[in-house]
Each structure stands twice: as C-alpha cells, then as structure tokens.
C-alpha cells in the first residue's frame, strides 16, 4: 500500500539538494578573500530534472524508490556521495588576486535558496498533516 506518494518523495529530494546548495554557497562566502578561489554552485533545476528522469527510468542520477509504508526514508548522505552537478560559477569580471566570488550575488542566492527550502518544507509538512488528520479519524 502506497501511503506516501511521489510528490512527497520529490519534496524530500528537493530538501536534500537545497541543503547541499546551502553548504556550497556558505563555502563561497567563507572563501570570499581567499586568493585564486573559484566559487561553486549547484544547478538546482538541472539536478532535480536529472533525479526525476532517473525515477522514471531514463537514466542519470540513481534514486531510491519512493518510500512505501514501513520502508526507511531517504538517506541524505547518499545523495551527497553521488555525482551532484556542483559546477564552477563563471567569473563575472577580472580580479586582481584570482578570487572570483561575487559576494552580493552569493548572498542573494543564499537567501533565495533558504526561502525555497522553507517553501518545500512547508509543503511536505502540510501534506503529512493532511495524512495525519485522515489517519487519526478526523480527530487531529
């Protein structure tokens, strides 16, 4: 019996990828003054598309099947171990010490990432709350 559907699984994946992206962006901010440091980023849309494609059997990033009742949930560290597309950010302009971190863009990306993480978490929580309400026979 499938209690937790594909949407919930996709939301879980989205949360994992957002967390990885937050790590990468934090690393960019920490290295804003390191000479010759090239900033990195995770292409979120492409990553999620690859994960979705794998779930539908089109190859790409491998993915555990959506959880069924009684199965264990996804393993976040397993996601990091795979080849997530962590790419170098193309340099905006010249830099005198080789460091190409654009601090303002990075902070904006970090804020957007946190916001989307919150939205996905809210969606997942709400779906689970609906399920919980139904399961508990309408008594909260």
């Amino acid at each position: 019996m499938r209690v937790f559907d594909n949407t919930l699984a996709r939301l879980e994946r989205a949360l994992d990828v957002r967390l990885v992206r937050q790590n990468v962006l934090s690393a960019n901010v920490a290295n804003v003054d390191t000479p010759n440091f090239k900033p990195k980023d995770v292409d979120f849309t492409a990553t999620m598309a690859a994960i979705d494609g794998a779930a539908h059997g089109e190859g790409g990033v491998s993915l555990p099947t959506p959880p069924t009742l009684g199965a264990s949930t996804t393993d976040a560290s397993g996601l990091a171990a795979r080849d997530l597309p962590i790419v170098d950010v193309p340099a905006g302009g010249a830099s005198f010490d080789g460091n190409t971190v654009d601090l303002d863009r990075t902070m904006v990306a970090m804020a957007e990432n946190a916001l989307q993480y919150g939205a996905s978490a809210k969606a997942a929580g709400k779906k689970l709350a609906i399920l919980r309400y139904v399961v508990s026979d309408g008594n909260g």
Partner: protein, 142 residues
C-alpha cells in the same frame, strides 16, 4: 553534507576574517613603531588564506564532495622596505642618521579592516540563514 558541515564552514570563515581584523588592528597600532620585537622596525603582517575541505565537526572530510572552508595557513611579514626619515637625534637612528619607520600605510590598513568586517558580516548572515532553514526543516513535524 548537512547543517553541521555548513555551520562549520561559516565558522571557519568567521574566524579567518577575525584574524584578518586582528592583524589589521595590530598593523595600525604599530604604524610608528621603530623598534619591533626583533629590534628592527615593525613589519606589517598579512594573513594568507587557504581553502580546506571541511567535514562535520568530528569527521574527516571526504575530499570529493565536501565544501571548502578557509583557514589562515600562515601569517607573513611584509618585506617591503619602510620609510627612511632623516632624524639624527632619534635613539633608533642608524649611523647615517636615518630612522626606518614601519611599512604600514594606515589608509590601506583601514580598507583591509572594512573589507574584513564586510566579509565577517556576510558569514554571520550565512549562519543566520542556516539557522532559519533548520527551523523550517524542524517545522515539518509540527
């Protein structure tokens, strides 16, 4: 990667920038020190930042996918020559009457200070953002 790793990374950024602030303050304070710890004029100090792979607090980092934190790998003394001022009566004057003053330019030290404090604030904002994210994640099970 998880929340703790990101916090560790931002923490490394915070402490590296704090070191930079400390060194800039030290340079400014010693802008006129003609007799430093080694008897010669004070030489301004620079931190050298280096990226390092970071795992969570007590784990060894896995090189492939772990995020890059920062550390001050060494503190180098700036070897450029200081200003020579002709002042024969000065206790630190050399046989020709010249006194070597430190190679500190207060303006560029203050610029370093401002840049370091901006980076410090950016790292602090990163920590706040991470805390907000963690709170939202915990709200899933509210």
């Amino acid at each position: 990667m998880d929340f703790l790793t990101a916090l560790h990374v931002s923490g490394s950024g915070l402490s590296a920038e704090r070191t930079r602030v400390n060194l800039a303050s030290s340079n400014l304070a010693n802008a006129e020190t003609t007799r430093g710890p080694n008897g010669k004029a004070y030489q301004r100090l620079d931190p050298v930042f280096q990226s390092i792979h970071m795992g969570a607090q007590d784990e060894a980092p896995t090189v492939g996918q772990s995020p890059l934190g920062v550390q001050v790998s060494q503190i180098v003394a700036d070897q450029s020559p200081g200003k020579m001022v002709y002042s024969p009566g000065h206790p630190d004057a050399d046989p020709n009457g010249f006194v070597t003053f430190p190679n500190v330019n207060p303006v560029s030290e203050i610029v370093n200070l401002l840049s370091a404090s901006r980076a410090f604030e950016a790292n602090a904002t990163a920590v706040e953002t991470l805390k907000t994210m963690a709170a939202r994640g915990l709200d899933i099970s509210k």
